[in-house]
Symmetry: C2
Subunit: 421 residues, 2 copies
């Protein structure tokens, strides 16, 4: 019998315990051994929980128990979780975690400490979608050319609602908070940080590249308005918060930002709280993965599948696909200013003569060619909605800087990148 | 160094050798060891091949070589392949195969013979999509409620073209043959048998159920015409050849047939030669997998990923998810006549008074309630296009039998099942 200890018995932790109990028969048949969650650690012992496991508020209750074989870390956060996982590994326990923040910061140290001990984290990216396994095993013959994913259900819910119901971000956000799809402080989701953590995990497996969230381009969806959806619908785009990893020569672009994508792409059909990830391999071409990216049961499905995999295969695969950063490829992080993309700009201007000529000349001076343009009349100003052909990030940033200083421009222009597949 | 022998060096086999050579650096970094294809077996030695491996037309060239660690079986067919794989396993070699027919008939015997030797077959279903791994590992915590997939690229190409270009099946089939998307004798694809082989492999992993192609319901797309697409488009459906495995109580429905599905489903967006598989787990909900289901490079991507997995994890997972048939669940194959579904019927009738009343009364007598109906005038006859609410397969079959005998019915009615998700 394999004994599992769960540190952090909230929504996901409770689901893990319940799946192990309720699907026991099939899990035993698949794993070859009985797997039982015997202990849990919680912050608040007085809260009532409907579970058949012994509880404590002290992590050593699990970490120091020699009978526990596998520690499931679901406490969240970075520093405390790091210490807990480190101690568990020192005590020779296999690890299963759903903690993306922990991995965004400490995945390489933890891989080093884990050594041959199994360390699995399928639940850390895209909840119930087995994307880690797909990238680490199923696509391992490939050079990964690009990963492009909708990895944050909160943002996708908000953007889908905004597109369908033509309402403001604040309205949908409030609704999402009421439904439990968004946190009281939504910055981590809305600002793109959650998706960035997940992107870093995937990019380690794809490229063996060791980066921190601070190193990469992260933009949230805060500034998206109905004006942008108006342009998108007019020109056949959807607006999605994409996490993108892309191999360009020997450099890897890593970035999270709202993105205009062709409305006919499979990814464009990924709506509501669902997640979807498209991966391009040099041999296999595009594969796409879709499913619930969050929620107790979906996330717990991934956690329990990791537990089963550890029990039946016994030995660990290289946790991050490669043993060390950069091994095998010698790739480095691309600098943001060299990113090449098409761009969309929303510029609010006073409705005066000569405005368009002045803005167009700034594009020209920065060697940026305009692809499409709409002028949208408003009450006391006008919106210029402009998309460009491909140029470098530094060119568009320079143009934005120059446009911002024009006296008839009433607010800093909003820029959204246009991603072509 | 790990040495690989490839039996059957055609399109896929050549791609396997090329990927191992051209992606050597990254494969070594991922596998932890250098992997080299040293030998190949081909039928026709005189055919020129641009590969750096020693060739023979005798399988013992590989099977009796003690230096070969992994045998890749790509010869196709059932009996010869079975003997080759059996001998390779007896000689203690790990197996990687893309041979769905072999597995459709002999997967349980081969699992028994393989024992602890790795036996991988990711490429046998849906080419480059890592669907075997997803089902065997990523979703293993779940009772699988349903698998519904577009698993035959030839049929999907034909149905997509028919839908978009409003042309006849024969026209598109001819085109597909010219493009190499369909075989000279297309029966195996068009008739649903290829998809059925794949379905049996997936259903073993999901349910531990041992069935042969002869045991299950298989219908092809031969009889689909533009009339059916007309009805489908009118009522918001797509027509796809689906392979379906579904858990209903303690029984498993296994069936392959053309299917009307809601045009807004993710699966409905899987067009052309692409494959897509939707899986519903009791905990994770729906996950969906999309990619190239055939082609040398996509299939070879899966073969090489299997090789890498064998080299780095060393030990085998239970080949079919469960060690023995039925283990863990005690499930049995559902009888076809108890399948509950909605149905669409196309009935060609002489354009006479009283026809509709007679047909409607047959539906009524069989306790089948009609959902939608269109009468489509033709030159010398009329088509009645009818969809029903849910009923049992035996009810609709009985109604079809009775309708067929009516004197004003000019041909056997065409029936397509309507699948609700």
């Amino acid at each position: 019998m394999i004994k599992v200890g769960i540190i952090g018995v909230g929504t996901v932790g409770s689901s893990v315990a319940k799946i192990l109990e309720e699907n026991e028969q099939i899990i035993t048949a698949r794993a070859g051994k009985k797997i039982v969650a015997t202990k849990g650690v919680v912050k608040n012992l007085s809260k009532k929980r409907d579970l058949n496991i012994a509880l404590s508020d002290n992590t050593d209750f699990i970490l120091d128990d020699p009978e526990i074989n596998i520690v499931v870390e679901l406490m969240g956060g970075v520093d405390d979780a790091y210490n807990v996982v480190k101690k568990a590994l020192k005590n020779n326990k296999a690890i299963v975690t759903a903690n993306k923040a922990l991995l965004a910061y400490h995945r390489y140290e933890l891989q080093e400490i884990a050594g041959e001990l199994p360390f699995e984290f399928e639940a850390s990216v895209a909840g119930g979608i087995p994307i880690i396994e797909a990238l680490r095993v199923g696509l391992s013959a490939n050079h990964v050319l690009a990963i492009r994913g909708i990895m944050n259900g909160t943002c996708n819910y908000i953007l889908t609602k905004m597109a369908n119901e033509k309402c403001a971000l604040e309205t949908v956000l409030k609704e999402a908070q009421d439904l439990g799809y968004a946190e009281a402080d939504p910055t981590f989701d809305i600002g793109g940080f959650d998706a960035a953590h997940k992107l870093l995990i995937l990019s380690s497996i794809a490229y063996g590249i060791d980066t921190k969230p601070e190193d990469i381009l992260i933009e949230g969806i805060e500034n998206i308005t109905q004006d942008d959806f108006y342009f998108a619908q007019e020109f056949g785009y959807k607006i999605k918060l994409l996490a993108i990893a892309k191999k360009v020569g020997n450099e890897i672009e890593l970035r999270v930002h709202p993105t205009l994508i062709d409305e006919n792409l499979m990814l464009s059909k990924v709506d509501g709280v669902m997640n979807g990830i498209s991966i391009i391999g040099d041999r296999v071409g595009e594969t796409m993965y879709y499913g619930a990216g969050a929620g107790g049961n979906a996330t717990a499905s991934a956690v329990v599948s990791d537990i089963i995999d550890i029990v039946r295969s016994g030995k660990s695969k290289p946790m991050l696909g490669f043993k060390k950063p950069m091994e095998g490829e010698g790739l480095k992080l691309a600098s943001n200013e060299n990113i090449v993309s098409k761009y969309y700009l929303r510029v609010s201007v006073a409705d005066k003569a000569g405005v368009l000529a002045k803005i167009a000349s700034i594009f020209g001076q920065n060697d940026i060619s305009i692809e499409a343009m709409m002028q949208q009349p408003k009450t006391w100003y006008a919106n210029l909605l402009i998309s460009t052909h491909k140029c470098k990030e530094c060119q568009i940033q320079n143009a934005i800087k120059e446009i911002s200083t024009l006296e008839f421009v009433t607010a800093k222009p909003i820029m959204i990148r246009i991603e072509e597949f």
